[in-house]
């Protein structure tokens, strides 16, 4: 099937306005008759639920945490982009659009990205009105800083906690609607299935994580705002609970999964210390502004960094990318770090790390200036590693961070299942094969505050409110399936723990479907993952019962889905015989090791349709047409 992204016709800058005019509206008095289910309360989910509630819809909001304020958007540090051009440095909506398309290595839909840039300014206005305490200058105006992949300063920030402040803004708006009675909140509740009635998404089945009760909710539409799937790698910068279950369940019910192999590995994280490691902590990329990345020239050089003379150090980013140097984009820096470690030149006890050295910057600017700029990051680093980065270089290593892939959606953010809308990181739409820094927060809020309120009305206006209730046979079928699966997990009583099996999956994904992929490595992954899945379903041990708070049971359900999803990722990566953005195939590179994109054969979105656990999914394509930003090779040399 050739998928239609439904980009509106007409000039790029007028598409959204024209489309808004053409879409149907729901009469204000009728809105309360519609029930909308919103799953997830990060930036996308909280902003969507609050805004839909304000408009008068009946909203049911779900999150697995004990409070909506804990969605993992809260951990975003750096900032949020917008095309305000407050610094008068040449920014514009068009430039933000252009940078995002190029940064995404030409694998995103032009119309969506332009709309994202267009609404970016309204987001900042909205957040300020909510009381988000962005950084300001002495005259009281908003401050901006620059970020990777852009030559203008367009990033708004609130210290190192921008994600937290934006989420608390959306959470406050959500609290107001909960009080008003338009939103009903279901915390500590996890979605385990999507209910599809006559081809349309009409409800979800959930597990109450406190009582263990499994129940269903019917709605006129469902919005999934459930984030990304980087935890398929076991170790990532995501929260421990972040998972693929909601989107994967929707995929199993008929929604197509787009570009699952597009994952972002962040170059500046704190290295792993041992088998016990449960998560990886990111250090803001801004550190690369003043830090110099290096490893020893000689293999296995175990001397402390201070004893390695200048002539025996390899500042490999500066050597390979003289013009961007230590500020090369995320994918390029990450890969380069892996290469030098694979050569045996990695540092630290595990050999999986490179130095990020502030020695020169401290000598040039003084420790005070560096402390002023990065003090909180140096403190965080010391808290975790017990090393003082003013005196010795930091050790960093790349870690899985963000998923550009996600459920396929059209211009209206609607998946291939009518009535199922997907927002934020959970969809695939705006970042192509690589996301630029400070763009994730922008997309989550754009989708929730300014896009879904319009596009969902167009769908709802064409449906009869409350047509489907939980009495429908599809709901009892879904309940039975979820209940059966839960019982099965509990009955296995094997010898392996869920964590052990997840860790093994993560190792395979990192090794074979990680930063550098090849036909051989992906073939191996495709052989190993089904074996691990079989082992899981024979030998996993889930203690306790289903009728109580049971954290092992929660994890087991998520890992079971990762064990299927990992295979889909590997398959997509194998199929995409080109290198682009975060997807690097070793067979497809230039003589100098740069990614070789293949626009002739792969300038499309790969959207996969589920056909059964051990069956190959079917590939559908959405061709990408670039009318405004001509296809060109990214170069950061």
């Amino acid at each position: 099937m050739i998928l239609d992204g439904k980009s509106p016709s007409g000039p790029l800058a007028e598409k959204w306005e024209k489309h808004r005019h053409e879409m149907k509206l729901v009469n204000p008095a009728n809105k309360r008759r519609y029930r909308i289910i919103v799953v997830g309360t990060g930036l996308a989910g909280a902003s969507a639920a609050a805004t839909l509630g304000e408009l008068g819809y009946n909203v049911e909001a779900f999150c697995y945490q004990d409070s909506p304020r804990r969605g993992h958007s809260i951990a975003a540090q750096g900032g949020i982009n917008a095309a305000k051009n407050y610094p008068n440095d040449g920014d514009s909506i068009y430039r933000l659009f252009h940078d995002t398309i190029k940064g995404g290595d030409f694998r995103a839909r032009e119309a969506n990205v332009y709309r994202l840039a267009e609404v970016s300014n309204s987001i900042i206005d909205q957040c300020v009105a909510q009381g988000v305490p962005f950084a300001r200058d002495y005259a009281g105006y908003l401050g901006n800083r620059s970020f990777g992949g852009a030559q203008v300063s367009r990033t708004f920030y609130a210290r190192g906690q921008t994600g937290q402040q934006l989420l608390l803004g959306a959470y406050a708006a959500l609290c107001r609607q909960i009080k008003a009675g338009s939103v009903r909140l279901h915390p500590r509740t996890e979605m385990l299935d999507l209910v599809v009635v006559e081809g349309e998404a009409k409800g979800i089945t959930v597990r109450d994580m406190v009582t263990g009760q499994i129940r269903s909710y019917a709605g006129d539409a469902v919005c999934l705002c459930t984030g990304g799937y980087s935890n398929v790698f076991y170790l990532s910068t995501n929260a421990a609970g972040s998972n693929v279950t909601a989107t994967y369940r929707a995929y199993k019910r008929g929604a197509f999964f787009a570009n699952p192999c597009f994952t972002q590995i962040h170059p500046t994280c704190i290295p792993v210390t041992g088998e016990h490691q449960s998560k990886l902590t990111l250090m803001s990329e801004s550190l690369r502004n003043d830090g110099r990345v290096w490893v020893p020239r000689a293999k296995g050089d175990k001397r402390p960094p201070g004893e390695i003379p200048e002539s025996e150090r390899d500042y490999y980013l500066e050597r390979k990318y003289p013009s961007y140097g230590n500020l090369a984009p995320r994918d390029i820096s990450s890969r380069a770090a892996k290469e030098v470690c694979d050569e045996g030149r990695g540092v630290g006890a595990s050999g999986r790390g490179v130095y990020l050295d502030f020695g020169d910057a401290i000598a040039r600017l003084g420790q005070d200036r560096i402390q002023e700029r990065y003090g909180n990051l140096f403190d965080m680093y010391e808290k975790i590693t017990a090393e003082n980065a003013y005196r010795q270089p930091m050790r960093i290593y790349p870690a899985p961070h963000y998923a550009m892939g996600g459920l396929w959606v059209d211009y209206n953010l609607q998946s291939t299942l009518p009535g199922l809308f997907v927002l934020g990181e959970a969809n695939f739409s705006d970042h192509g094969a690589n996301r630029l820094g400070a763009s994730a927060l922008m997309q989550g809020l754009a989708d929730g505050y300014f896009i879904i309120p319009y596009t969902i009305a167009h769908y709802l206006a064409q449906t009869v409110p409350g047509k489907v209730t939980t009495d429908h046979a599809e709901f009892s079928k879904s309940l039975e399936e979820v209940d059966g699966r839960t019982k099965k997990l509990l009955s296995l009583k094997g010898r392996r723990t869920v964590n052990e099996l997840h860790r093994e999956l993560g190792r395979v994904m990192w090794e074979h479907v990680g930063m550098a992929r090849s036909e051989e490595s992906l073939g191996k992954a495709l052989k190993l993952i089904p074996q691990m899945r079989a082992e899981f379903w024979e030998d996993v041990r889930v203690p306790g019962s289903g009728a109580e708070l049971n954290q092992e049971l929660e994890k087991a359900g998520r890992v079971a889905d990762f064990l299927e999803f990992g295979e889909l990722m590997a398959r997509d990566a194998l199929f995409r015989r080109e290198s682009c953005g975060g997807h690097f195939r070793v067979e497809y590179q230039m003589a100098d090791g740069e990614a070789r994109r293949d626009d002739e054969n792969f300038c499309y979105v790969a959207a996969w349709q589920y056909k059964g656990v051990d069956q190959e999914p079917v590939l559908h394509k959405e061709s990408l047409v670039f009318q405004h930003v001509p296809l060109s090779t990214r170069s950061y040399k």
């Binding site: 004990d66 304020r69 804990r70 908003l142 608390l168 609290c175 990111l282 017990a386 203690p543 109580e548």
Partner: protein
């Protein structure tokens, strides 16, 4: 290192709980406190026992989900640090650790170390916001805010809503939590419009939920992982008194 743990185990809100002894062996100083508990739990599962239930999510000190009292101190011995960011190098071989849930009248135990903090949600829902609709707002730079005011607002806004302040307070008071939100919004011109109303309804909600009053022990500030200052409680009190005199309460 090897440690002896005494962990609060409680099957449900209505069940009695007790401290149970466990041995944590071969603990690396590089582990976080939660990773140490992960290791203990793996062992319990293998030994066909029930693992210890505890709240956690981001594991980088910002989501506010983790909530344990370690040797009598909420979030443990290191200042301005959540349990998930507390590393085992702060303990030594042979140590005994007592691990308990947040204890407060307003936070009933759900299971083991997990408590119900929905009372804090209801305090927020009472009025912890600016009543602005999506869309139709002024340009972001139309509101000028003095840098120092924006910074003070941010100092308060950093609250992660973990509830350690309540757990540490001998009165089980949520004053620091409430004051952080009241203080954040009252510092900003956008938030001033509803400031009087907000401080009244949030204070009322706080008392209704069974949180105690503040009697200036300052334990909350000592355990706050974000270092939120008790000065905000003073600000809350000033705002409250001002509101009592000046507000016309419509309902």
């Amino acid at each position: 290192m090897d440690l002896t743990l005494y962990v609060w185990r409680q099957k449900g809100p209505a069940e009695p709980g007790r401290l149970q002894q466990y041995e944590a062996r071969d603990i690396s100083p590089d582990m976080s406190f939660l990773e140490m508990l992960d290791v203990v739990n793996e062992g319990l599962i293998k030994a066909e026992q029930e693992p210890i239930a505890f709240d956690h999510d981001c594991r980088e000190g910002i989501c506010g989900m983790c909530s344990q009292v370690i040797n009598g101190v909420a979030h443990g011995p290191v200042e301005k640090t959540t349990v998930c960011q507390l590393h085992m190098r702060h303990f030594k071989d042979g140590d005994s650790l007592y691990i308990e849930p947040w204890r407060a009248r307003a936070f009933p135990v759900i299971k083991d170390l997990i408590v119900d903090r929905s009372a804090l949600e209801r305090v927020m829902q009472a009025g912890g916001y600016i009543s602005v609709h999506t869309g139709g707002v002024a340009d972001a730079n139309a509101i000028l805010i003095a840098k120092t005011d924006a910074e003070t607002a941010m100092d308060a806004a950093e609250c992660i809503g973990c509830g350690a302040c309540v757990a540490a307070c001998p009165n089980g008071s949520a004053m620091l939590f409430t004051a952080a939100k009241v203080g954040h919004l009252a510092m900003l011109p956008q938030g001033r419009v509803e400031a009087a109303q907000r401080v009244c309804v949030m204070t009322e909600a706080m008392l209704k939920e069974g949180f105690g009053n503040c009697s200036n022990h300052y334990e909350c500030q000592a355990v706050c992982p974000k270092g939120i200052k008790v000065q905000f409680i003073a600000k809350l009190n000033r705002e409250f008194i001002k509101a009592q005199i000046t507000t016309r309460r419509d309902e």
